[in-house]
């Protein structure tokens, strides 16, 4: 049988990877909207999207239960319709990681997009390129360093997610015990050997990610 720490490592990587992909998918358009458009409720949206960054993860988790629980605002109808609830599944861990990591991507990608020289965008318009073409060919490439940093930070945050995950995915050994949760269980029950091992693994992975993030934001010889 697969040792439990390997399962936890694999689950953590899987959860963080999927959460990061979702963060990119939703975070980039939201960052673009906040960086380039003015609309009513923009500041409210910004606050809502940033809240998970400052709220205690248990509070974020609590909101997720209210929304996605079996009797939740979204989870209720979903359960009535399909008989499936996201609660206490590994998908719930993805949801929790996604929500807490999203603000990191939005913050870094937004400021990267805002720092793109407005004249370049105007130049693109006067050269006949529509807004979406300009976004893809000028704004995104020139924000790539910020987006890469946001991606790595999001992945690291998703890897380390504990509080909200515990609230919505629980601590089901062999099913939802990601590395941080397994570490908590091991140390709570005095299994020091496996705790040591997982703590070392976690430190290694996060250190590596920080190194990549620093490398990607450092100024390179070529490019802007």
């Amino acid at each position: 049988m697969e040792p439990s720490f390997l399962f936890s490592l694999r689950l953590s990587l899987q959860v963080a990877l999927i959460a990061t992909l979702l963060v990119l998918l939703f975070g980039l358009p939201l960052a673009y909207l906040l960086a380039r458009r003015d609309f009513r409720g923009k500041e409210v949206l910004d606050v809502l999207l940033t809240l998970p960054l400052v709220l205690p993860p248990t509070v974020t988790g609590y909101y997720l239960i209210l929304l996605f629980g079996r009797r939740g605002l979204i989870g209720g109808p979903l359960y009535a319709w399909t008989g499936w609830s996201i609660m206490f599944t590994w998908q719930a861990a993805v949801l929790a990681s996604f929500v807490v990591a999203l603000p990191l991507m939005i913050k870094t990608a937004r400021s990267a997009m805002e720092s793109v020289d407005a004249t370049l965008i105007h130049a693109s318009f006067t050269l006949g390129r529509k807004e979406w073409e300009t976004a893809l060919r000028v704004i995104l490439p020139l924000s790539s360093r910020g987006i890469l940093a946001g991606t790595v930070l999001s992945f690291a945050r998703a890897m380390g997610e504990f509080g909200a995950t515990l609230m919505v995915a629980g601590n089901l050994p062999g099913r939802t015990d990601t590395l941080p949760i397994a570490i908590y269980s091991s140390s709570a029950s005095g299994e020091w050997t496996s705790a040591h091992l997982m703590v070392a693994l976690m430190t290694l992975v996060c250190g590596l990610l920080l190194y990549i993030a620093n490398r990607s934001t450092a100024k390179k010889g070529k490019g802007p």
Binding site: H122, L142, G223
Partner: protein
């Protein structure tokens, strides 16, 4: 005299500044002359559709690009004007060739590439196709920006102080270069400058801006001889 090629009437009120101008030009090179903050660059941006006037009318030949009374205000993408920005605005992440080819043009990819090669040869940019903007000189950047604006065969060329960042000898050679390319690419050119010598060398008609209004128009010599105001006198001194 035949009817003007470009007809412009613009009004926009901002806090502490009002632009209110009306002028026209023939198929020619005309300079907008004035101190900074007089509304010249804003006029170009309105022509390009980047800023919307409160009221205004822009007609080039028989096409109306802006007419606030009739609710017409075409977006920049729908205006076939080449625009060279003051800081050139070359895309730093694209090579010289990709910068020049960036614009949307009504031709096949093959035709675009042929025209790009032709422009690069004509502008002395041979061998620089795969260089990045930060790897080439100021004068070369200038010519890349011009080539990029001309690739789409615009109906009007807008130049916003294009040579102000260059040192004097280079500025003089770029002026000669601009006069040369006007021979091979005949199209009306509107150029913004604060340098009377530059305006006098390049154009036979100058429109002088002062605080968002036109204070004088005419031949450079006539303006030199009889400046309409103290500001104009300082400008041409």
């Amino acid at each position: 005299m035949s009817s003007p090629v470009l007809e412009v009437r613009l009004r926009k009120k901002l806090p502490g500044f009002t632009l209110d101008v009306a002028w026209d030009m023939a198929d020619d090179l005309v300079c907008l002359l004035g101190f900074s903050g007089s509304g010249k660059s804003m006029t170009l941006q309105m022509l390009a559709g980047l800023i919307r006037p409160d009221t205004g009318h822009i007609r080039l030949r028989d096409k109306v690009y802006c007419d606030t009374e009739r609710g017409i205000h075409l977006p920049p993408q729908k205006r076939p004007f080449g625009y060279v920005f003051q800081d050139l605005a070359l895309f730093p992440h694209m090579t010289v060739a990709r910068n020049i080819l960036y614009g949307k043009a009504a031709m096949t990819q093959r035709e675009k590439e042929d025209r790009c090669r032709e422009l690069m040869d004509r502008f002395g940019l041979q061998g620089l196709a795969s260089r990045y903007p930060h790897e080439i000189s100021g004068g070369q950047k200038q010519r890349v920006a011009l080539a990029r604006a001309l690739l789409r065969k615009p109906d009007l060329l807008l130049l916003d102080e294009p040579f102000s960042a260059l040192d004097r000898p280079l500025r003089l050679s770029m002026r000669r270069f601009l006069l040369e390319i006007r021979e091979s690419f005949p199209l009306p050119i509107l150029m913004v400058t604060h340098d009377m010598d530059e305006a006098a060398e390049l154009s036979s008609r100058i429109i002088v801006y002062e605080g968002g209004r036109i204070s004088q128009t005419g031949h450079p010599e006539a303006i030199r001889k009889k400046p309409a105001s103290l500001t104009v006198a300082r400008l041409v001194a």
